[in-house]
Symmetry: C2
Subunit: 290 residues, 2 copies
Protein backbone atom coordinates (compact mmCIF):
# COMPACT_ATOMS: atom_id res chain seq x y z
CA UNK A 1 0.00 0.00 0.00
CA UNK A 2 1.27 3.46 -0.90
CA UNK A 3 2.31 5.87 1.81
CA UNK A 4 -0.52 8.38 1.96
CA UNK A 5 0.11 9.61 5.51
CA UNK A 6 1.47 13.06 4.67
CA UNK A 7 -1.39 13.90 2.32
CA UNK A 8 -3.98 12.74 4.87
CA UNK A 9 -2.45 14.71 7.73
CA UNK A 10 -2.14 17.89 5.67
CA UNK A 11 -5.78 17.56 4.59
CA UNK A 12 -7.00 16.96 8.14
CA UNK A 13 -5.36 20.20 9.20
CA UNK A 14 -7.10 22.08 6.37
CA UNK A 15 -10.52 21.06 7.72
CA UNK A 16 -9.87 22.90 10.98
CA UNK A 17 -11.23 26.47 11.16
CA UNK A 18 -8.52 29.09 10.83
CA UNK A 19 -8.72 32.48 12.53
CA UNK A 20 -10.15 33.73 15.80
CA UNK A 21 -12.98 31.81 17.40
CA UNK A 22 -14.50 32.11 20.84
CA UNK A 23 -14.51 28.28 20.94
CA UNK A 24 -10.73 28.12 20.34
CA UNK A 25 -10.21 25.64 23.17
CA UNK A 26 -12.61 23.20 21.53
CA UNK A 27 -10.87 23.63 18.17
CA UNK A 28 -7.53 22.97 19.90
CA UNK A 29 -8.95 19.80 21.46
CA UNK A 30 -10.12 18.55 18.07
CA UNK A 31 -6.73 19.34 16.52
CA UNK A 32 -4.90 17.60 19.39
CA UNK A 33 -6.58 14.26 18.78
CA UNK A 34 -6.49 14.49 14.99
CA UNK A 35 -2.74 15.17 15.15
CA UNK A 36 -1.81 12.28 17.49
CA UNK A 37 0.76 10.12 15.69
CA UNK A 38 -0.95 7.16 14.04
CA UNK A 39 -0.67 4.77 11.14
CA UNK A 40 -3.74 6.27 9.39
CA UNK A 41 -4.76 2.78 8.28
CA UNK A 42 -8.42 3.52 7.57
CA UNK A 43 -8.04 6.67 5.44
CA UNK A 44 -5.11 5.06 3.58
CA UNK A 45 -7.42 2.17 2.67
CA UNK A 46 -10.01 4.63 1.35
CA UNK A 47 -7.41 6.22 -0.92
CA UNK A 48 -5.98 2.87 -2.04
CA UNK A 49 -9.40 1.52 -3.08
CA UNK A 50 -10.31 4.80 -4.77
CA UNK A 51 -7.14 4.63 -6.87
CA UNK A 52 -7.65 0.93 -7.54
CA UNK A 53 -11.09 1.76 -9.00
CA UNK A 54 -9.62 4.47 -11.23
CA UNK A 55 -10.40 7.49 -9.05
CA UNK A 56 -7.98 10.19 -7.92
CA UNK A 57 -6.51 10.67 -4.47
CA UNK A 58 -7.59 14.30 -4.64
CA UNK A 59 -11.28 13.45 -5.08
CA UNK A 60 -11.17 10.76 -2.38
CA UNK A 61 -9.34 12.83 0.25
CA UNK A 62 -12.49 14.32 1.88
CA UNK A 63 -13.89 10.81 2.36
CA UNK A 64 -10.61 9.46 3.71
CA UNK A 65 -10.46 12.36 6.18
CA UNK A 66 -14.08 11.71 7.19
CA UNK A 67 -13.24 8.10 8.11
CA UNK A 68 -10.31 9.29 10.22
CA UNK A 69 -12.51 11.93 11.91
CA UNK A 70 -15.07 9.28 12.87
CA UNK A 71 -12.31 6.96 14.09
CA UNK A 72 -10.84 9.82 16.14
CA UNK A 73 -14.19 10.75 17.70
CA UNK A 74 -14.68 7.11 18.72
CA UNK A 75 -11.26 7.02 20.42
CA UNK A 76 -11.91 10.25 22.36
CA UNK A 77 -15.28 9.01 23.62
CA UNK A 78 -13.86 5.53 24.31
CA UNK A 79 -11.19 6.98 26.59
CA UNK A 80 -13.70 8.98 28.71
CA UNK A 81 -14.03 8.07 32.41
CA UNK A 82 -17.53 6.63 31.90
CA UNK A 83 -16.15 4.28 29.21
CA UNK A 84 -12.62 2.80 29.39
CA UNK A 85 -11.21 5.62 31.53
CA UNK A 86 -7.87 5.62 29.75
CA UNK A 87 -5.36 8.35 30.60
CA UNK A 88 -3.16 7.63 27.60
CA UNK A 89 -3.71 7.13 23.89
CA UNK A 90 -0.86 6.33 21.51
CA UNK A 91 1.60 7.20 24.25
CA UNK A 92 0.18 10.69 24.79
CA UNK A 93 -2.33 11.98 27.32
CA UNK A 94 -5.89 11.26 26.24
CA UNK A 95 -8.06 14.19 25.19
CA UNK A 96 -10.00 14.51 28.44
CA UNK A 97 -6.80 14.48 30.50
CA UNK A 98 -5.58 17.53 28.58
CA UNK A 99 -8.84 19.40 27.94
CA UNK A 100 -11.20 18.05 30.65
CA UNK A 101 -14.13 15.72 30.21
CA UNK A 102 -16.69 18.24 28.99
CA UNK A 103 -14.50 19.55 26.17
CA UNK A 104 -13.46 16.00 25.20
CA UNK A 105 -17.11 15.00 24.91
CA UNK A 106 -17.80 18.02 22.69
CA UNK A 107 -14.63 17.44 20.63
CA UNK A 108 -15.88 13.94 19.79
CA UNK A 109 -19.31 15.26 18.90
CA UNK A 110 -17.80 17.97 16.70
CA UNK A 111 -15.53 15.50 14.90
CA UNK A 112 -18.53 13.41 13.90
CA UNK A 113 -20.27 16.39 12.29
CA UNK A 114 -16.99 17.50 10.66
CA UNK A 115 -16.83 14.16 8.88
CA UNK A 116 -20.18 14.76 7.15
CA UNK A 117 -19.40 18.41 6.39
CA UNK A 118 -16.18 17.24 4.69
CA UNK A 119 -17.88 14.57 2.56
CA UNK A 120 -20.77 16.80 1.56
CA UNK A 121 -18.80 20.00 1.01
CA UNK A 122 -18.84 21.79 -2.35
CA UNK A 123 -15.43 20.42 -3.38
CA UNK A 124 -16.22 16.82 -2.52
CA UNK A 125 -19.61 16.93 -4.26
CA UNK A 126 -18.17 18.68 -7.33
CA UNK A 127 -15.42 16.03 -7.61
CA UNK A 128 -17.52 12.87 -7.29
CA UNK A 129 -21.13 14.06 -7.82
CA UNK A 130 -23.99 14.33 -5.34
CA UNK A 131 -25.17 10.73 -5.66
CA UNK A 132 -21.78 9.17 -4.94
CA UNK A 133 -20.97 11.61 -2.15
CA UNK A 134 -24.34 10.83 -0.54
CA UNK A 135 -23.85 7.09 -0.89
CA UNK A 136 -20.34 7.15 0.59
CA UNK A 137 -21.52 9.30 3.50
CA UNK A 138 -24.44 6.95 4.13
CA UNK A 139 -22.11 3.94 4.23
CA UNK A 140 -20.05 5.72 6.89
CA UNK A 141 -23.17 6.69 8.86
CA UNK A 142 -24.51 3.15 8.85
CA UNK A 143 -21.26 1.30 9.52
CA UNK A 144 -20.27 3.65 12.34
CA UNK A 145 -23.71 3.96 13.90
CA UNK A 146 -26.39 2.36 16.06
CA UNK A 147 -26.11 -1.19 14.73
CA UNK A 148 -22.53 -0.72 13.53
CA UNK A 149 -19.47 0.54 15.42
CA UNK A 150 -21.43 2.20 18.23
CA UNK A 151 -23.58 -0.93 18.56
CA UNK A 152 -20.36 -2.94 18.91
CA UNK A 153 -19.29 -0.70 21.79
CA UNK A 154 -22.64 -1.34 23.48
CA UNK A 155 -22.26 -5.12 23.05
CA UNK A 156 -18.75 -4.86 24.51
CA UNK A 157 -20.17 -3.08 27.58
CA UNK A 158 -22.84 -5.78 27.94
CA UNK A 159 -20.17 -8.53 27.98
CA UNK A 160 -18.28 -7.24 31.00
CA UNK A 161 -18.04 -9.62 33.96
CA UNK A 162 -20.04 -12.44 32.42
CA UNK A 163 -19.22 -15.44 30.30
CA UNK A 164 -20.30 -15.31 26.68
CA UNK A 165 -19.82 -17.49 23.61
CA UNK A 166 -17.50 -16.99 20.67
CA UNK A 167 -20.38 -15.93 18.40
CA UNK A 168 -21.07 -12.84 20.50
CA UNK A 169 -17.37 -11.96 20.73
CA UNK A 170 -17.13 -12.27 16.96
CA UNK A 171 -20.27 -10.17 16.41
CA UNK A 172 -18.97 -7.53 18.80
CA UNK A 173 -15.61 -7.29 17.01
CA UNK A 174 -17.24 -7.31 13.58
CA UNK A 175 -19.18 -4.25 14.62
CA UNK A 176 -16.71 -2.48 16.85
CA UNK A 177 -13.59 -2.95 14.72
CA UNK A 178 -14.38 -4.35 11.27
CA UNK A 179 -17.36 -2.16 10.37
CA UNK A 180 -15.40 1.10 10.17
CA UNK A 181 -12.66 -0.58 8.10
CA UNK A 182 -15.41 -1.91 5.80
CA UNK A 183 -16.76 1.63 5.45
CA UNK A 184 -13.27 2.95 4.65
CA UNK A 185 -12.70 0.43 1.83
CA UNK A 186 -16.24 0.52 0.40
CA UNK A 187 -16.31 4.33 0.38
CA UNK A 188 -13.06 4.34 -1.58
CA UNK A 189 -14.68 2.17 -4.26
CA UNK A 190 -17.84 4.29 -4.34
CA UNK A 191 -16.04 7.60 -4.81
CA UNK A 192 -13.44 6.04 -7.14
CA UNK A 193 -16.16 4.85 -9.50
CA UNK A 194 -16.08 1.12 -8.71
CA UNK A 195 -19.00 -1.16 -9.60
CA UNK A 196 -21.30 -3.03 -7.22
CA UNK A 197 -19.15 -6.16 -7.37
CA UNK A 198 -16.09 -4.20 -6.39
CA UNK A 199 -17.82 -2.36 -3.55
CA UNK A 200 -18.91 -5.74 -2.18
CA UNK A 201 -15.42 -7.23 -2.56
CA UNK A 202 -13.86 -4.24 -0.78
CA UNK A 203 -16.26 -4.90 2.10
CA UNK A 204 -15.21 -8.57 2.21
CA UNK A 205 -11.52 -7.68 2.19
CA UNK A 206 -12.07 -5.17 4.98
CA UNK A 207 -14.20 -7.52 7.06
CA UNK A 208 -11.50 -10.19 6.90
CA UNK A 209 -8.55 -7.92 7.73
CA UNK A 210 -10.59 -6.18 10.44
CA UNK A 211 -11.31 -9.44 12.25
CA UNK A 212 -7.78 -10.75 11.70
CA UNK A 213 -6.38 -7.50 13.10
CA UNK A 214 -8.41 -7.95 16.29
CA UNK A 215 -7.45 -11.61 16.73
CA UNK A 216 -3.76 -10.72 16.33
CA UNK A 217 -4.31 -8.02 18.98
CA UNK A 218 -5.69 -10.66 21.35
CA UNK A 219 -2.77 -13.00 20.60
CA UNK A 220 -0.15 -10.28 21.19
CA UNK A 221 -1.74 -9.37 24.52
CA UNK A 222 -0.71 -12.89 25.62
CA UNK A 223 2.52 -13.56 23.71
CA UNK A 224 4.25 -10.21 23.44
CA UNK A 225 6.24 -8.24 25.97
CA UNK A 226 5.22 -4.80 27.19
CA UNK A 227 8.43 -3.38 25.73
CA UNK A 228 7.84 -4.81 22.29
CA UNK A 229 4.16 -3.82 22.22
CA UNK A 230 4.61 -0.36 23.74
CA UNK A 231 1.65 -0.92 26.09
CA UNK A 232 0.90 -3.17 29.07
CA UNK A 233 0.35 -6.85 28.20
CA UNK A 234 -1.86 -9.42 29.90
CA UNK A 235 -4.61 -6.85 30.51
CA UNK A 236 -7.31 -8.96 28.83
CA UNK A 237 -6.71 -11.90 31.16
CA UNK A 238 -6.38 -9.62 34.18
CA UNK A 239 -9.75 -8.02 33.38
CA UNK A 240 -11.25 -11.44 32.60
CA UNK A 241 -12.22 -10.18 29.18
CA UNK A 242 -13.92 -12.46 26.69
CA UNK A 243 -11.56 -12.53 23.72
CA UNK A 244 -10.82 -14.78 20.76
CA UNK A 245 -7.81 -16.07 22.72
CA UNK A 246 -9.71 -16.81 25.94
CA UNK A 247 -12.42 -18.68 24.03
CA UNK A 248 -10.51 -20.36 21.17
CA UNK A 249 -6.92 -20.66 22.38
CA UNK A 250 -3.70 -19.97 20.51
CA UNK A 251 -3.77 -22.67 17.87
CA UNK A 252 -7.28 -21.96 16.60
CA UNK A 253 -6.66 -18.21 16.71
CA UNK A 254 -3.56 -18.55 14.52
CA UNK A 255 -5.46 -20.76 12.07
CA UNK A 256 -8.30 -18.26 11.94
CA UNK A 257 -5.94 -15.36 11.18
CA UNK A 258 -4.45 -17.43 8.33
CA UNK A 259 -7.89 -18.23 6.95
CA UNK A 260 -9.10 -14.61 7.16
CA UNK A 261 -5.94 -13.33 5.48
CA UNK A 262 -6.44 -15.78 2.61
CA UNK A 263 -10.09 -14.62 2.36
CA UNK A 264 -8.95 -10.99 2.19
CA UNK A 265 -6.44 -11.71 -0.58
CA UNK A 266 -9.03 -13.76 -2.47
CA UNK A 267 -11.54 -10.89 -2.36
CA UNK A 268 -9.04 -8.70 -4.23
CA UNK A 269 -9.53 -10.80 -7.38
CA UNK A 270 -12.64 -8.71 -8.10
CA UNK A 271 -10.32 -5.88 -9.14
CA UNK A 272 -8.44 -5.59 -12.40
CA UNK A 273 -5.64 -3.27 -11.30
CA UNK A 274 -2.55 -3.99 -9.22
CA UNK A 275 -3.70 -5.27 -5.82
CA UNK A 276 -0.30 -6.47 -4.60
CA UNK A 277 0.01 -3.58 -2.16
CA UNK A 278 -3.32 -4.42 -0.52
CA UNK A 279 -2.45 -8.13 -0.42
CA UNK A 280 0.90 -7.35 1.23
CA UNK A 281 -0.89 -5.14 3.73
CA UNK A 282 -3.18 -8.02 4.75
CA UNK A 283 -0.16 -10.31 5.21
CA UNK A 284 1.69 -7.68 7.22
CA UNK A 285 -1.26 -7.20 9.56
CA UNK A 286 -1.39 -10.96 10.13
CA UNK A 287 2.32 -11.22 10.90
CA UNK A 288 2.82 -8.05 12.90
CA UNK A 289 4.63 -8.24 16.25
CA UNK A 290 3.15 -5.06 17.71
Amino acid sequence: MKDYIKEIEAALERYLPQGDYAEQRLIDAVRYSLALPGKRVRPSLTLAFAELCGGSVEAAIPFACAVEMVHTYSLIHDDLPCMDNDDYRRGQLSNHKVYSEDIALLAGDALQSMAYAAMLGDEAVAAVGGERAARAARILAEKSGLIGMVGGQAIDLSMEHREVGIDLVRLMEEKKTANLIEAACMMGCVVGGGGEEQIKAAGQYAHAIGLAFQIVDDILDVTSTAEELGKPIGSDQENEKNTFMSLLGMERCRALVKLLTAEAVEALSAFEGDTSGLADFAEKLANRRK
Copy 2:
Protein backbone atom coordinates in the same frame (compact mmCIF):
# COMPACT_ATOMS: atom_id res chain seq x y z
CA MET B 1 -47.99 26.38 11.67
CA LYS B 2 -49.61 23.04 10.90
CA ASP B 3 -49.58 20.26 13.44
CA TYR B 4 -47.01 17.82 12.12
CA ILE B 5 -46.21 16.10 15.43
CA LYS B 6 -47.89 12.75 14.73
CA GLU B 7 -46.20 12.33 11.37
CA ILE B 8 -42.81 13.20 12.84
CA GLU B 9 -43.15 10.82 15.78
CA ALA B 10 -44.32 7.94 13.59
CA ALA B 11 -41.39 8.51 11.23
CA LEU B 12 -38.85 8.68 14.07
CA GLU B 13 -40.04 5.26 15.26
CA ARG B 14 -39.59 3.84 11.74
CA TYR B 15 -35.91 4.77 11.76
CA LEU B 16 -35.27 2.49 14.74
CA PRO B 17 -34.05 -1.03 13.88
CA GLN B 18 -36.75 -3.67 14.30
CA GLY B 19 -35.99 -7.25 15.32
CA ASP B 20 -33.41 -8.89 17.57
CA TYR B 21 -30.15 -7.11 18.17
CA ALA B 22 -27.40 -7.84 20.68
CA GLU B 23 -27.24 -4.07 21.25
CA GLN B 24 -30.94 -3.91 22.22
CA ARG B 25 -30.27 -1.86 25.33
CA LEU B 26 -28.64 0.85 23.23
CA ILE B 27 -31.55 0.82 20.79
CA ASP B 28 -33.93 1.15 23.76
CA ALA B 29 -31.94 4.12 25.05
CA VAL B 30 -32.15 5.85 21.68
CA ARG B 31 -35.90 5.17 21.48
CA TYR B 32 -36.40 6.46 25.04
CA SER B 33 -35.02 9.91 24.29
CA LEU B 34 -36.58 10.19 20.83
CA ALA B 35 -39.98 9.39 22.37
CA LEU B 36 -39.83 11.91 25.23
CA PRO B 37 -42.83 14.22 24.90
CA GLY B 38 -41.84 17.41 23.12
CA LYS B 39 -43.15 20.16 20.92
CA ARG B 40 -41.05 19.00 17.93
CA VAL B 41 -40.47 22.63 16.98
CA ARG B 42 -37.40 22.08 14.81
CA PRO B 43 -38.67 19.25 12.60
CA SER B 44 -42.03 21.02 12.26
CA LEU B 45 -40.20 24.07 10.92
CA THR B 46 -38.39 21.89 8.38
CA LEU B 47 -41.72 20.54 7.11
CA ALA B 48 -43.38 23.97 7.11
CA PHE B 49 -40.61 25.53 5.00
CA ALA B 50 -40.51 22.54 2.66
CA GLU B 51 -44.26 22.92 2.02
CA LEU B 52 -43.93 26.68 1.69
CA CYS B 53 -41.37 26.15 -1.10
CA GLY B 54 -43.66 23.73 -2.92
CA GLY B 55 -42.19 20.46 -1.63
CA SER B 56 -44.04 17.56 -0.03
CA VAL B 57 -44.06 16.57 3.63
CA GLU B 58 -43.20 13.03 2.58
CA ALA B 59 -39.98 14.03 0.84
CA ALA B 60 -38.96 16.35 3.70
CA ILE B 61 -39.66 13.89 6.53
CA PRO B 62 -36.16 12.29 6.58
CA PHE B 63 -34.61 15.74 6.93
CA ALA B 64 -37.07 16.79 9.65
CA CYS B 65 -36.31 13.59 11.57
CA ALA B 66 -32.57 14.19 11.15
CA VAL B 67 -32.89 17.62 12.80
CA GLU B 68 -34.79 16.07 15.72
CA MET B 69 -32.18 13.30 16.04
CA VAL B 70 -29.38 15.87 16.27
CA HIS B 71 -31.39 17.92 18.76
CA THR B 72 -32.01 14.78 20.83
CA TYR B 73 -28.33 13.75 20.81
CA SER B 74 -27.40 17.22 22.03
CA LEU B 75 -29.88 16.98 24.93
CA ILE B 76 -28.61 13.54 26.01
CA HIS B 77 -24.99 14.70 26.01
CA ASP B 78 -25.93 18.01 27.64
CA ASP B 79 -27.53 16.18 30.59
CA LEU B 80 -24.45 14.01 31.26
CA PRO B 81 -22.68 14.41 34.63
CA CYS B 82 -19.61 16.00 32.99
CA MET B 83 -21.87 18.66 31.40
CA ASP B 84 -25.02 20.01 33.12
CA ASN B 85 -25.52 16.87 35.24
CA ASP B 86 -29.30 17.02 34.93
CA ASP B 87 -31.36 14.14 36.31
CA TYR B 88 -34.53 15.21 34.53
CA ARG B 89 -35.46 16.20 30.99
CA ARG B 90 -39.00 17.23 30.06
CA GLY B 91 -40.23 15.94 33.40
CA GLN B 92 -38.79 12.45 32.89
CA LEU B 93 -35.52 10.90 34.04
CA SER B 94 -32.66 11.86 31.76
CA ASN B 95 -31.15 9.16 29.55
CA HIS B 96 -28.10 8.47 31.71
CA LYS B 97 -30.24 8.14 34.85
CA VAL B 98 -32.19 5.33 33.16
CA TYR B 99 -29.50 3.64 31.05
CA SER B 100 -26.23 4.68 32.78
CA GLU B 101 -23.64 7.12 31.55
CA ASP B 102 -21.82 4.86 29.10
CA ILE B 103 -24.97 3.89 27.21
CA ALA B 104 -26.22 7.50 27.21
CA LEU B 105 -22.94 8.64 25.66
CA LEU B 106 -23.26 5.97 22.96
CA ALA B 107 -26.95 6.73 22.39
CA GLY B 108 -26.06 10.35 21.62
CA ASP B 109 -23.27 9.25 19.29
CA ALA B 110 -25.60 6.83 17.51
CA LEU B 111 -28.33 9.45 17.09
CA GLN B 112 -25.91 11.73 15.28
CA SER B 113 -25.01 9.04 12.74
CA MET B 114 -28.70 8.08 12.40
CA ALA B 115 -29.44 11.62 11.28
CA TYR B 116 -27.06 11.34 8.32
CA ALA B 117 -28.16 7.81 7.45
CA ALA B 118 -31.76 9.11 7.31
CA MET B 119 -30.97 12.10 5.07
CA LEU B 120 -28.74 10.11 2.72
CA GLY B 121 -30.85 6.94 2.57
CA ASP B 122 -32.18 5.63 -0.75
CA GLU B 123 -35.68 7.01 -0.17
CA ALA B 124 -34.52 10.49 0.77
CA VAL B 125 -32.09 10.73 -2.13
CA ALA B 126 -34.66 9.37 -4.61
CA ALA B 127 -37.22 11.94 -3.44
CA VAL B 128 -35.08 15.09 -3.54
CA GLY B 129 -31.99 14.08 -5.58
CA GLY B 130 -28.40 13.55 -4.46
CA GLU B 131 -27.35 17.19 -4.75
CA ARG B 132 -30.15 18.55 -2.56
CA ALA B 133 -29.85 15.74 -0.03
CA ALA B 134 -26.12 16.36 0.23
CA ARG B 135 -26.61 20.12 0.60
CA ALA B 136 -29.26 19.76 3.32
CA ALA B 137 -27.10 17.27 5.21
CA ARG B 138 -24.11 19.59 4.94
CA ILE B 139 -26.12 22.49 6.36
CA LEU B 140 -27.03 20.33 9.35
CA ALA B 141 -23.42 19.17 9.80
CA GLU B 142 -22.09 22.73 9.73
CA LYS B 143 -24.77 24.38 11.87
CA SER B 144 -24.64 21.66 14.53
CA GLY B 145 -20.87 21.24 14.54
CA LEU B 146 -17.52 22.60 15.68
CA ILE B 147 -18.20 26.29 15.04
CA GLY B 148 -21.99 25.90 15.30
CA MET B 149 -24.08 24.30 18.05
CA VAL B 150 -21.23 22.34 19.62
CA GLY B 151 -19.04 25.45 19.49
CA GLY B 152 -21.81 27.31 21.34
CA GLN B 153 -21.74 24.68 24.08
CA ALA B 154 -17.99 25.18 24.40
CA ILE B 155 -18.39 28.96 24.65
CA ASP B 156 -21.05 28.41 27.33
CA LEU B 157 -18.59 26.28 29.34
CA SER B 158 -15.92 28.97 28.99
CA MET B 159 -18.30 31.61 30.43
CA GLU B 160 -18.87 29.89 33.76
CA HIS B 161 -17.87 31.85 36.86
CA ARG B 162 -16.54 34.88 35.05
CA GLU B 163 -18.05 38.14 33.84
CA VAL B 164 -18.48 38.51 30.12
CA GLY B 165 -20.04 41.07 27.80
CA ILE B 166 -23.36 40.92 25.97
CA ASP B 167 -21.63 40.25 22.63
CA LEU B 168 -20.25 36.93 23.85
CA VAL B 169 -23.61 35.92 25.38
CA ARG B 170 -25.28 36.72 22.09
CA LEU B 171 -22.67 34.81 20.06
CA MET B 172 -23.00 31.83 22.39
CA GLU B 173 -26.80 31.75 22.05
CA GLU B 174 -26.64 32.27 18.29
CA LYS B 175 -24.51 29.16 18.07
CA LYS B 176 -25.97 27.04 20.84
CA THR B 177 -29.65 27.70 20.17
CA ALA B 178 -30.25 29.57 16.91
CA ASN B 179 -27.92 27.60 14.63
CA LEU B 180 -29.89 24.35 14.79
CA ILE B 181 -33.16 26.22 14.19
CA GLU B 182 -31.52 27.90 11.21
CA ALA B 183 -30.51 24.49 9.89
CA ALA B 184 -34.07 23.19 10.33
CA CYS B 185 -35.62 26.05 8.33
CA MET B 186 -32.93 26.26 5.63
CA MET B 187 -32.97 22.49 5.07
CA GLY B 188 -36.73 22.66 4.56
CA CYS B 189 -36.23 25.20 1.78
CA VAL B 190 -33.41 23.20 0.18
CA VAL B 191 -35.33 19.94 0.01
CA GLY B 192 -38.59 21.71 -0.88
CA GLY B 193 -36.97 23.31 -3.93
CA GLY B 194 -36.65 26.90 -2.70
CA GLY B 195 -34.23 29.33 -4.34
CA GLU B 196 -31.13 30.92 -2.81
CA GLU B 197 -33.07 33.99 -1.69
CA GLN B 198 -35.57 31.82 0.13
CA ILE B 199 -32.92 29.67 1.80
CA LYS B 200 -31.28 32.86 3.07
CA ALA B 201 -34.60 34.30 4.30
CA ALA B 202 -35.43 31.06 6.13
CA GLY B 203 -32.10 31.38 7.91
CA GLN B 204 -32.90 34.97 8.90
CA TYR B 205 -36.36 34.02 10.21
CA ALA B 206 -34.81 31.16 12.22
CA HIS B 207 -31.99 33.26 13.57
CA ALA B 208 -34.45 35.85 14.85
CA ILE B 209 -36.90 33.42 16.45
CA GLY B 210 -34.02 31.38 17.89
CA LEU B 211 -32.55 34.38 19.68
CA ALA B 212 -35.98 35.66 20.74
CA PHE B 213 -36.79 32.21 22.15
CA GLN B 214 -33.68 32.29 24.32
CA ILE B 215 -34.29 35.82 25.57
CA VAL B 216 -37.86 34.89 26.54
CA ASP B 217 -36.39 31.88 28.38
CA ASP B 218 -34.13 34.21 30.35
CA ILE B 219 -37.04 36.55 31.12
CA LEU B 220 -39.29 33.72 32.30
CA ASP B 221 -36.55 32.41 34.60
CA VAL B 222 -36.98 35.72 36.48
CA THR B 223 -40.67 36.54 36.10
CA SER B 224 -42.47 33.21 36.08
CA THR B 225 -43.35 30.85 38.88
CA ALA B 226 -42.03 27.31 39.14
CA GLU B 227 -45.60 26.01 38.84
CA GLU B 228 -46.35 27.93 35.69
CA LEU B 229 -43.02 27.05 34.07
CA GLY B 230 -42.93 23.40 35.17
CA LYS B 231 -39.28 23.72 36.20
CA PRO B 232 -37.36 25.57 38.93
CA ILE B 233 -37.09 29.33 38.42
CA GLY B 234 -34.34 31.73 39.44
CA SER B 235 -31.64 29.18 38.61
CA ASP B 236 -29.75 31.57 36.31
CA GLN B 237 -29.31 34.16 39.05
CA GLU B 238 -28.49 31.50 41.62
CA ASN B 239 -25.76 30.11 39.36
CA GLU B 240 -24.57 33.63 38.54
CA LYS B 241 -25.06 32.88 34.88
CA ASN B 242 -24.42 35.50 32.24
CA THR B 243 -27.75 35.91 30.46
CA PHE B 244 -29.52 38.51 28.36
CA MET B 245 -31.48 39.45 31.50
CA SER B 246 -28.45 39.80 33.78
CA LEU B 247 -26.66 41.97 31.22
CA LEU B 248 -29.48 43.97 29.59
CA GLY B 249 -32.30 44.01 32.15
CA MET B 250 -36.02 43.50 31.61
CA GLU B 251 -36.90 46.54 29.53
CA ARG B 252 -34.19 46.10 26.92
CA CYS B 253 -34.84 42.35 26.76
CA ARG B 254 -38.52 42.91 26.01
CA ALA B 255 -37.67 45.47 23.34
CA LEU B 256 -35.18 43.07 21.77
CA VAL B 257 -37.75 40.26 21.61
CA LYS B 258 -40.16 42.63 19.88
CA LEU B 259 -37.52 43.71 17.37
CA LEU B 260 -36.42 40.13 16.62
CA THR B 261 -40.01 39.00 16.14
CA ALA B 262 -40.60 41.82 13.67
CA GLU B 263 -37.41 40.81 11.87
CA ALA B 264 -38.62 37.20 11.67
CA VAL B 265 -41.98 38.22 10.21
CA GLU B 266 -40.27 40.58 7.76
CA ALA B 267 -38.00 37.78 6.49
CA LEU B 268 -41.09 35.80 5.47
CA SER B 269 -41.83 38.33 2.71
CA ALA B 270 -39.29 36.44 0.54
CA PHE B 271 -41.91 33.69 0.13
CA GLU B 272 -44.93 33.80 -2.15
CA GLY B 273 -47.11 31.26 -0.36
CA ASP B 274 -49.14 31.61 2.84
CA THR B 275 -46.72 32.47 5.65
CA SER B 276 -49.35 33.40 8.26
CA GLY B 277 -48.74 30.19 10.23
CA LEU B 278 -45.02 30.90 10.51
CA ALA B 279 -45.70 34.54 11.43
CA ASP B 280 -48.13 33.45 14.16
CA PHE B 281 -45.57 31.00 15.43
CA ALA B 282 -42.98 33.77 15.83
CA GLU B 283 -45.54 35.87 17.75
CA LYS B 284 -46.51 32.95 19.96
CA LEU B 285 -42.89 32.24 20.87
CA ALA B 286 -42.45 35.90 21.84
CA ASN B 287 -45.57 35.94 24.02
CA ARG B 288 -45.31 32.50 25.61
CA ARG B 289 -45.66 32.20 29.38
CA LYS B 290 -43.80 28.89 29.70
